[in-house]
Amino acid sequence: MNRKLDLSDPIESNEAYVKLLGLLEGGMVHYSLEGKIYSMLPKGPKPFVGFQAILKGVWQPLPNNTYSYSLFEVGFFADLETGIPIKKFVNPITSAENDLIRIKGGPHVSVIKPHIYSWVVIGDDIWIEESKTLNGYFGSSEKLNKNDNAESDEEIAFFNRIYRGRLSELNNGAARAFCQMHYNYISPWYPFFNMENIEGKMYWQAVGTKIDSFSEVPEKMQNFLLAEHQEFFDSEQPWTKTTSTLAEYRRIENGKG
């Protein structure tokens, strides 16, 4: 059954948002992302390393037209040419070999309340963008372990995500809709690249879509999940303690890996 959503109404705008990004009736939604990290140096930008990730959102409808979701992510850094997962990386800037870790994050819990979102609608094309500046310490655990004032080393990161779908799907009676996600993240150097005091930053750029089944997961990611995260795709709670790629790196640095 089709009904035209009134995107100027906070409840219906929220419903459209949940349907585009997640799932109205609750449950798991996965996105498969593939992209590159670029080094942004004063002498110019260049492709640095590839990456792939699977994002899992576990959605739940709550009373009063509110929804919550928990976000998890796993993934790997990849060879720029072949896309094959790598753990050893010859850094093209320092020429040193870096030991990389895997991408892992979550659970990050968000609550979505009725709100008028800034939709852009052109014909059947509909999209929304979200941006945020993050402040934090992006270095290794060394300074944290020494109880130095890591706050003085805080740096900024910036993400911009674009979610794009079809208005006709948001208006139809189905609980979920197609969504293309464009992921952009500008960050300081991550510590496992051992960039020391080299001036510059990283730009992470990836594109992906909501996927309906494991069979739609790209082959290299399927193999990665089967080898290292067998429970991830089917589990609504693949782990409980909140983590991030940086936290995982520090944990490994501290010998707890």
Binding site: P47, I156, Q180, H182
Partner: protein
């Protein structure tokens, strides 16, 4: 500018071109390329009406051209809109909006190649209303910036047979394409102290194209529907007057190949372009002399002392 004045401006711009006139005029020109009969390149894409062999350089190039342009001789238009963010070590903030219509003039070239020329015209916009602006307050400096118009091209490019990394999932196809360059700044920092970001400029352009495999294999279609998301990480535009302040801007745009100008491009933008460059949408050569944001700034402004 208060909201009443903005509304007046929008109404004025929207009525400059009568929408009925546009149905038979501008939009019919934009539709034309996708309805053109298949040419020989199309037959090579899909001789058996099956699938595209993206590992074949000739098929790959023709699919690429069909997605971002047209394999026939003709024009395509792409509409886009987005936001420019300033990214500095202190933080990131939205600075100004932008919107434009990019024109690609395509022709089949020799040896299974294609040649095209692009032009771009549009305006910088208010972050809230999306309407054209003549000035805005820079959130980093607190100064009033005057952005001028968006004007670029003609830029020429030849698409040669090669294997590009298309990603296919069911009937969806994606291609990410990046360009990264470091060039000498036309605005010398000693002279243009506030407008010049330095002796050299950095540009990283990443374009994500999305279409349908079924359109690319269809021999009846020479120009397939395409959606695009672009991100540019570049040195500061001169009109931001950021001098050599650390950082740069992150420019993002969401858009699509236009099949019908009237339905898919806001009237405010159509009218703006038609007023600035009468005949832009019909012309295969709306202007002759190559320009870009930095060149336009140098041509039209005078150095501001810091």
């Amino acid at each position: 500018m208060n909201s009443n004045k903005k509304n007046e401006k929008q109404d004025k711009l929207a009525t400059q071109i009568n929408r009925r006139e546009m149905i038979g005029g501008l939009s019919s020109l934009a539709i034309a390329p996708s309805l053109l009969a298949a040419n020989t390149q199309d037959a090579e894409i899909n001789p058996s009406n099956a699938t595209i062999d993206f590992s074949d350089p000739i098929q790959n190039a023709a699919a690429y051209v069909k997605l971002i342009g047209t394999t026939a001789r003709g024009m395509i238009h792409m509409y886009g809109r987005g936001t420019i963010y300033g990214v500095t070590p202190e933080g990131a903030m939205p600075m100004v909006g932008h919107t434009s219509v990019l024109k690609g003039v395509w022709k089949p070239w020799t040896d299974n190649s294609f040649y095209y020329t692009i032009y771009n015209r549009g305006y910088f916009s208010d972050l809230e209303t999306g309407l054209p602006i003549e000035e805005f307050e820079n959130p980093f400096t607190g100064e009033i910036n005057v952005p001028g118009d968006i004007k670029g091209g003609p830029f020429d490019r030849v698409i040669r047979p090669e294997v590009r990394d298309f990603k296919v999932r069911n009937d969806d196809v994606w291609l990410n394409e990046d360009v990264y360059i470091n060039v000498v700044n036309k605005l010398e920092p000693q002279i243009w102290t506030k407008a010049s970001a330095g002796k050299t400029l950095n540009f990283l352009y990443v374009e994500s194209y999305n279409g349908k495999v079924s359109d690319l294999v269809n021999p009846e279609i020479s120009s397939a529907p395409m959606k695009i998301i672009s991100t540019h990480n570049t040195s500061w535009y001169p009109f931001f007057l950021m001098g050599q302040r650390p950082g740069g801007h992150y420019w993002q745009s969401v858009g699509r190949k236009v099949s019908n100008l009237e339905d898919e491009v806001p009237a405010v933008l159509l009218n703006f372009i038609e007023k600035k460059v009468p005949g832009y949408f019909e012309s295969e050569r709306p202007w002759k002399k190559r320009t870009d944001t930095f060149q336009e700034y140098k041509n039209e402004r005078k150095p501001i002392k810091s």
